[in-house]
């Protein structure tokens, strides 16, 4: 009997069907949910995108960055820049946000790739601070105090009119719905794209580099190139998310857009709690994070301390996160990437 390879599991087939239903529900959400829910979902989806990209970097690429705010902030400011200075519509400007983050990522990588481990992490943070300080000098975009998107730009955005008439919403609420749908598209494209990458031979190379760089090189893997691909992809996606987040906020300042707490610390929390090195982990993590934030938001610094303590406890008790714990117990994989060899001499007895 011939050999064959499969990645599917019975659970993954059920998950795929459930996924399709869930996605349909999410697309239809603005037709039956209130504005508050839409805003919450926007927050969850954009944090999920940031978490997926940080997970790609750290969990698969072994690149522990604490400077992702550089790309959120750069993307956000690029969006404000092209809208305010060139009169570009905010929706296509999101694409410029991704490109701008990519442009910043190239020199960042040249610098940071010279550093290893903790020095790499600190290096990325230093670069983010430098970019923040530079942006704060940009007087046309409000300098250190920041600026807002012009009212006509937000009122006449692409798709706004049809959303207003279809859903019978006012301009501000229609903008939230548009932002939500864009966030949904971005989140689905991110998860789909990362899942696709992991199933190609590049994904194998990524895992090999993460597990043992020297051995990976010795079997022909271009480890340096893999790092570049992961770093630039993450920067681009993080920049897109940054642009989108601030398009929805319509107001920006350097301190907020380059916040290490909001765009890196929370994101790391989400990935660590949920389970690093899996696609499922950040999804679980963002839900836990949102629940905690909703429950504890009124407690100020207690909130941050709870997050910190929880992260430490999870790291000690379940280093692979909540999802790791669950999939270890049940063998469940919603996004299976493991190639299982079947048939041939494996057909009769298998371990």
């Amino acid at each position: 009997m011939a050999y064959s390879v499969t990645t599917q599991t019975p659970a993954s087939r059920i998950a795929a069907i459930a996924g399709v239903i869930l996605i349909s529900l999410l697309i239809a959400l603005p037709f039956f949910a209130g504005r508050g829910t839409i805003q919450d979902m926007f927050f969850i989806l954009t944090m999920l995108v940031l978490a997926q990209f940080w997970n790609l970097l750290a969990g698969y690429g072994g690149l522990v960055s604490i400077g992702q705010q550089a790309f959120v902030g750069t993307g956000a400011y690029a969006l404000f820049g092209v809208v305010i200075l060139w009169g570009v519509d905010p929706v296509p400007a999101i694409f410029c946000a991704g490109i701008a983050a990519l442009v910043i990522a190239v020199p960042t990588a040249f610098f940071a790739f010279r550093l290893n481990g903790a020095y790499f992490a600190i290096g990325t943070w230093v670069i983010a601070e430098v970019v923040r300080l530079l942006v704060a000098q940009w007087k046309m975009l409000g300098g250190g105090t920041g600026t807002s998107l012009p009212r006509d730009a937000t009122r006449d955005m692409w798709f706004i009119e049809s959303i207003e008439s279809t859903l019978g919403l006012r301009s501000a609420a229609a903008r939230d719905v548009l932002a939500y749908w864009l966030a949904l598209v971005l989140a689905l494209a991110t998860i789909g794209g990362i899942y696709w990458l992991l199933r190609t031979r590049r994904g194998l190379a990524l895992a090999a580099v993460r597990d043992n760089t020297e051995a990976a090189k010795s079997v022909g893997v271009d480890a340096g190139r893999m790092k570049w691909i992961v770093f630039l992809t993450s920067a681009f996606g993080t920049g897109l998310a940054g642009g989108l987040i601030y398009m929805q906020k319509a107001r920006i300042s350097p301190d907020a857009a380059f916040s290490v707490t909001d765009w890196t610390a929370y994101v790391i929390f989400i990935v660590v709690i949920g389970g690093i090195g899996t696609i499922e982990g950040p999804i679980i993590g963002v839900l836990v994070f949102f629940a905690l934030q909703t429950l504890l938001a009124d407690f100020g610094s207690w909130y941050l301390m709870t997050l910190g303590v929880l992260a430490v406890v999870v790291m000690l008790v379940a280093p692979r996160g909540l999802w790791g714990l669950l999939s270890e117990q049940t063998g469940l994989h919603l996004f299976p990437i493991r190639r299982r060899l079947t048939g041939g001499k494996l057909a009769s007895s298998e371990e």
């Binding site: 050999y3 194998l204 895992a207 090189k217 079997v219 190639r339 060899l341 371990e351």
Partner: protein, 239 residues
């Protein structure tokens, strides 16, 4: 024709000279054994040939091409495969996926094309029943087999094996010898570092002796083993 040629290659780690002016050629299709005491610099010599360590001086040519400054990845792609003395598996990938990485990247082919080759190698190295087990869960013995299997998956012209027979039972050792002879019979040039001398001499046609980073003997295995220098080094060690 020589497939590999080292000229005055040297390497030091700090004050310690680990490879001292090493020059030798390996002919196409030959099987060369390397022996020498622990710490003689045998593994370092492999690292220099594969590009995992850079030479301080001298030159290394593979198939007439100067590869002295080529990266480990490039050397794999042009046909130099290796096993590591201390196994270096991709622990979170399965045994089969370990071979897939090597076959798809080392040969620049798609997963579908290399599937049967990988399965065949797993059969030949007796790892097929462990194909879907994460490499991190293998025993030391299985890890050593995986080292050999993964190196084979890159389809090398020159295969470097670093002490893969240690700790095997006699039966396992005979099976390993058959596997290596089979690889050799398919035209692959082999350099094998091994302390298990009877296994080594049953495969190799030439023997190189390394001591304190110097090549102190190279030639017919029987003559080398009978020489005074080797007898001195191996005095007390069973031959």
């Amino acid at each position: 024709m020589s497939i590999l040629s080292l000229k005055s290659v040297s390497k030091s780690f700090g004050a310690l000279t680990v490879t001292d002016d090493a020059s030798f050629d390996v002919l196409q299709g030959q099987a060369l054994g390397i022996i020498g005491p622990n710490g003689a610099g045998k593994s370092t010599l492999f690292n220099l040939i594969t590009g995992n360590v850079r030479a301080d001086g001298g030159s290394i040519h593979f198939e007439g091409r100067d590869v002295t400054r080529a990266s480990a990845m490039e050397r794999c792609l042009i046909g130099i495969g290796r096993s590591f003395q201390i196994p270096q598996p991709f622990e979170k990938l399965t045994v089969y996926e370990n071979l897939l990485v090597a076959a798809t990247h080392g040969r620049n082919l798609s997963e579908a094309i290399v599937r049967d080759d990988c399965a065949d190698i797993l059969e030949r190295t007796e790892l097929i029943r462990r194909a879907n087990v994460p490499a991190g869960r293998l025993s030391l013995l299985e890890r050593k087999r995986l080292e050999l299997a993964r190196a084979m998956a890159t389809q090398p012209k020159l295969l470097l094996l670093d002490e893969i027979a240690g700790g095997l039972t006699e039966g396992e050792c005979q099976a390993l010898i058959r596997t290596i002879k089979d690889i050799h019979a398919r035209g692959v040039t082999i350099i094998w570092i091994e302390h298990v001398l009877h296994a080594l001499t049953s495969v190799v046609e030439r023997l190189l002796v390394l001591d304190f980073g110097k090549v102190i003997g190279l030639g017919d295995p029987e003559e080398i083993m009978a020489s005074r220098e080797v007898q001195e080094i191996y005095l007390g060690i069973e031959v």
